[in-house]
């Protein structure tokens, strides 16, 4: 793949009479810190990166092409496999796009279930990020703490939809399964527990000198760069833009709940760390309210035609996934299968800035910066 990179000429200079060479280092596709099958070809001089060329596509499954031969409900499981760390938001964005086209009404209970599932998933996703990020930086403990707590969320999901990673939970017009009896109480318990744990996390990690010195001032960029590179989500908020689609273009029933949009102004890895941690807190806040107001009964799927045929035309919707703005474009010809389906994947778009950020950084910082972008390769390659 990409022969041209491998044959890139390497500079050989002979200043001071010593023959020095730049080295091409292949980071990935099998590397512990690329978070999947991502490959980064870096041209290094000593440990300083001169140039970084991302190579991807190892996980490309042609979801968009496959979708053209599937009806809308059949596409939902494919979305699970895109951002497999936060599959609920992917489920939702597809359903939301179709529902927007068809103008469907979603029952109250389904709305709540969707919102709770998405927010739980956001917490789970940020926990995975937190754990793996610290693992990248060399601390192993937090990884296990994070995964223990994420496990509880996965257990909740398991009860809800019978799957731990690839949920296939939402349907056009609602959700597939109602919450089993007692589930809401368990979720409530978890929220309280997680709040306590989050404090522990901060005590363990957020003040650690070594950790701070590793991430402070690293991978810095400003708002206009972020906008120029189409960055979204935490990458954008960490530069000081108060922008969250949950708040600014409310979907689902997010407008009913009271929560803040955490931002930071520095735009470095530290800022992104702080914003993500604050987001967990806000998600828990939303969850707390949503679980409190959860309707005691009702339908979980609305009145939906048996064969889903959105009207001819096109739509583009975007929602806030844990990684940023996830969008779904559907061009329909009025049939039960989409003419063209396209996902705007936040990991893919956010990753674009990586070569710029890596210029002149050291190898150790490369890992820190890559980690702070928070990518999921299933989504990058789609």
């Amino acid at each position: 793949m990409n022969q041209n990179i491998l044959t890139t000429s390497v500079d050989t200079s002979s200043e001071n009479g010593i023959r020095t060479e730049e080295m091409l280092l292949n980071v990935g596709p099998q590397h512990p810190s690329t978070h999947g099958v991502f490959r980064l070809v870096v041209k290094i001089d000593g440990e300083t990166i001169k140039e970084a060329i991302p190579v991807m596509g190892y996980l490309h499954r042609g979801t968009e092409k496959l979708a053209e031969n599937l009806n809308y409900t059949q596409i939902i499981p494919y979305t699970d496999r895109m951002d497999y760390v936060s599959a609920m938001t992917n489920n939702y964005v597809l359903c939301h796009a179709v529902e927007t086209m068809m103008g469907l009404e979603i029952p109250e209970r389904a709305q709540f279930l969707r919102l709770i599932a998405m927010e739980l998933n956001r917490v789970a996703s940020h926990l995975v990020w937190w754990g793996t990020y610290l693992l990248d930086i060399g601390a192993m403990g937090p990884f296990l703490y994070a995964f223990r707590d994420r496990e509880m969320i996965l257990d909740l999901f398991n009860e809800l939809c019978g799957a731990r990673m690839t949920f296939n939970y939402m349907r056009i017009g609602g959700v597939k399964w109602d919450a089993p009896p007692g589930w809401v109480d368990k979720a409530k318990e978890f929220v309280q527990y997680m709040k306590k744990e989050l404090n522990n996390y901060h005590q363990l990690v957020s003040g650690n000198e070594i950790f701070i010195s590793r991430i402070k001032g690293i991978g810095k960029f400003d708002t206009s760069t972020a906008l120029d590179y189409s960055l979204s989500g935490v990458m954008l908020r960490a530069t000081g833009v108060k922008w969250d689609l949950r708040k600014d273009e409310p979907y689902c029933i997010y407008d009913r709940f009271d929560f803040d949009v955490p931002t930071a102004t520095e735009g470095d890895c530290m800022a992104r760390y702080q914003v993500r941690m604050a987001e967990i807190e806000q998600s828990l806040r939303i969850l707390e309210q949503a679980l409190e107001q959860f309707p005691s009964e009702g339908e979980v799927i609305g009145k939906v035609p048996r064969v889903i045929r959105p009207p001819a035309g096109e739509t583009y919707v975007r929602i806030e996934s844990p990684r940023g703005e996830i969008g779904c474009y559907i061009a329909s010809q009025g049939k039960d299968k989409p003419w063209r389906l396209k996902f705007r994947r936040p990991s893919f778009t956010n990753l674009q800035i990586l070569p710029t950020l890596l210029q002149g950084e050291s190898l150790a910082n490369m890992i820190v910066i890559l980690g702070s972008i928070d990518i999921v390769l299933g989504e990058v390659d789609c």
Binding site: S230, V307, G313, Y316, G327
Partner: protein, 351 residues
Amino acid sequence: MSEEKRRPTPEEKAQAAAEARAKAEALRKLREQEEQGAEAAPPAQEEAQAQAADSQEEVAPVAKPVSEMTPEEKAAAKKAAAAEAIAKAKAAKEAKESAQQGDGASSAEGADAEAKAKAAAAAKAKAAAAAAAKAKAEREAGGSPADGGDDDAKAKAAAAAKAKAAAAAAAKAKAAQATGDGAEAAETPKAPSKNQPYLDKYVLRITEKFGKEVLEASYINELAKEVPTLVIQNERWHEIAQFLKEDGQLAFEYLSDLHGVDYEDRMEVYYHLYSYKNRQSLAVKVKTSREQSSVPSVMDVWNGANWNERETFDLLGIHFPGHKDLRRILLPDDWVGYPLRKDYVQYDEEV
């Protein structure tokens, strides 16, 4: 590498792929003729992927539930029926217009495609006309309860439904294709969208600066949360993009999404822009031909277009002149063909 020897060169691959495609094309044409001969008259473009043998069987089961549903008077079915009625009305209208439009469209698409397009347009017109003529009969067939056991009635209803579906699809495709925008705007007599003023503003700003001809169409896309949508002339797109970003009143500094769509008779690149300053969205569409698809790159305007344009090039084969590094991004460099094109034929079955 021993693998290298075994592997054919890219040229061979391309040739093989081209042959396969030609074969598929021939098959498709043959099928088309059969279809037209049999007076089933589904529009040509729909048949591109459908299998000839399957199509008869496939349509029937789809139609059956419709005919079963009608007597039950399900709300959904009613809605669908209403939608179809509108579509039929449109189809009748289209039928009249299509002759002139066919000419206009084909001339725009270049000389070599002209004959083909004309033929297609003619076929479509025929289909639409047939559909319109049948519309009354259908409505009766649909309206009168098919009384369960009566096989005849059922079969009739099925046939009617089939024709109906075909007609509706044709009408819709047509609407979306040529004058779709205008027609859509015309047929929504309800209260103007809340975004209408914004659309007017954008249109005004652009036409003030670049003249009327750069805007091929402008409308509110009801299906996409009422986003103002502009269809912009391919040749002028780059400067307009620059203007959209830099003009103080528009200030679309954020490119949310960029991707291409293959409509079989043309390609479209869809841009979703956002202005954080004005908190406003805008969708832009730029059209290009399928044969020599090229849309000016906006990578120098929005850096975020970089990988998206590469992806679009990779999967749809749309070229973006002005892009600094237009390579394949998801597929290997030696991949043959563009998978998201509707006529894509996989070269290597093993993959």
